[in-house]
């Protein structure tokens, strides 16, 4: 089975490292998890390399991450996007919804809860049959704004 390539874009290097180490460990060596703090580097990888999943923390203060998401949606729509953010707000959720992001989780999530979401984003069955409960639905709910 060929190795999957996952890219993490996070301006918090420690958080990015933990995500990378955790996923690398838990995905049982079937994936290569790479980290970058630069949205430009991530876009270069998406444009020229094989990327199976892009995990992004879109800091609302940094517009480059939003541009990256827009570019991937427009020019590499086959690459699944997973937003893993420390800046969860209804506004950010709305923005992600508009960009067509389906997989959205808020920090501080446990890695064991993040794993099923990653499997779902990769569209592969996880080793266990647990559903990805940690995903925050970006569909229009009828209650909370």
């Amino acid at each position: 089975m060929p190795s999957r390539q996952i890219y993490i874009v996070d301006d918090d290097s420690v958080a990015a490292l933990i995500t990378q180490r955790g996923l690398q460990t838990m995905l049982d060596g079937q994936s290569t998890v790479l980290v970058t703090s630069s949205p430009n580097a991530a876009w270069l990888a998406c444009a020229t390399d094989h990327v199976d999943l892009l995990i992004v923390d879109p800091n609302p203060q940094i517009s480059a991450t939003l541009s990256l998401l827009r570019a991937v949606r427009a020019f590499r729509p086959h690459i699944p996007l997973l937003v893993l953010t420390a800046y969860d707000t209804p506004g950010l959720r709305a923005k992600m919804r508009e960009l067509g992001v389906v997989h959205y989780v808020a920090k501080p999530i446990d890695l064991r809860d993040l794993l099923p979401v990653v499997y779902a984003a990769l569209a592969v069955n996880p080793p266990t049959s647990d559903p990805p409960l940690a995903t925050i639905s970006l569909k229009h709910p009828s209650g909370s704004p």
Binding site: D88, T89, D110, S142
Partner: protein, 466 residues
Amino acid sequence: MSELECLRGYIQDLEGRLYAAEARADSVAQEAELQQRRTIELSARLSAILSISAALLISRDVDAIVQLVVREAVGIFPGTSAVYLFLLDLEHDRLQLQAAAGSGDHQTGSALARIAILSPRAMLLVGPELEMAVERLGSDELDQLHNTPGWPPYSALLCPLRVESSRMGAIVLYGGVSAHLYHPRDIPFVQALADLTAVAIDEVQQRARAAILQRDLAITQSLHAEAQARLNAAQAQLLQSAKLAAVGELSASVAHEINNPLYAARNSLYLVEQDMDADHPQRAFLAIAQQELGRIARIITRMRDFYRPTRAELTATSVNILLRETLELVQTHLRHGHIHAVATLNPDLPATVAHADQLRQVFLNIILNACDAMPRGGDLRVTTQLLHARPEAPPTIGIHITDTGMGIATEHLAHIFEPFYTTKAQGTGLGLAISAHIITQHSGRISVESELGQGTTFTILLPVST
């Protein structure tokens, strides 16, 4: 000629002179008697006029005034058959009979009153003059009068009731067939009586109008005080909410900053735990550390959600109704500021699930800011519309609040939604920050466009189902 004849002639001459002197004495005596009678009559009239004047001064009722005048007029002008007093009914543009005395005919009085009100001053009409004057009014009326008993009267005194240049009615007196003619010296008296009457009626009417104005003023002041109190309460609530929101904003920003290190710490422990033997003696402490970090995560979540409305506070809300209520709330404020508000609200706007009080605060804050931007008055336009970005996308409610005020400088425009950023001496810098926060919490967007000296437009986009 003998001396005797001379004496006789002299005596005759003396007798002739004596007769002439006696005749002059009789004439003087008659004249004196006439003058005395006139003086008495004049004195009686003056006395009556003064009495009327005194009575009119204390009278507070138009009906009492007119009744007194017609009653006294009969006595002041001897030989009067009838007195009529008409007042002008401006609403129906006609003369309305207010009071009558004597035994006359209403139709005669009405015809004469129509002549009187067109006259600038009092006038005396005698015999044929009366018929000629009525003829000028119209032939039909004269035909009717010919069939009226007692027509034409011997003479009539007519006078308009006027105050300054304003006509308010007429007084008419006429003498019956057997009465003596009125005299030109009666004219100043009827004029004085009419002037006194007009002034007294005018004063009563002015007093009534003043009372109505006073009552209206009291009602207006009461409404104004009520509206001001509501506005003050709303502004106080706005400030209180802004303070709370500032705390919430701070909490949320702190929460976001903590999320990354917390995520790293919790999951570092998790990764350590994965490599640790199940019976490792330090595993218990690792579990405690994970539990406590979990507690911190829950506290952070609560802090982040400090100003997020709970589900119970969210209801189906009509943006149009909220905007109308807000405009109603600031109505007095707008009127005093000479601000003309126009609301163009799309009647087909669907309801949105929202925190109504919070949205009302946003609208109130933006509208009050617009008022502040127009210290010399201006136009405020509030518009709502239903937007469809894409056919498959859910619709969005667009709200535009535009003023024609002084505008916002470009250097301020980029910062106006930041907390504590203000250009006002007494501003908190929280109003627009919290407005933006509330709109964001409702999954909406707020933006501003402004041009110095031209005005400002705030645009709020709210999803129909938030």
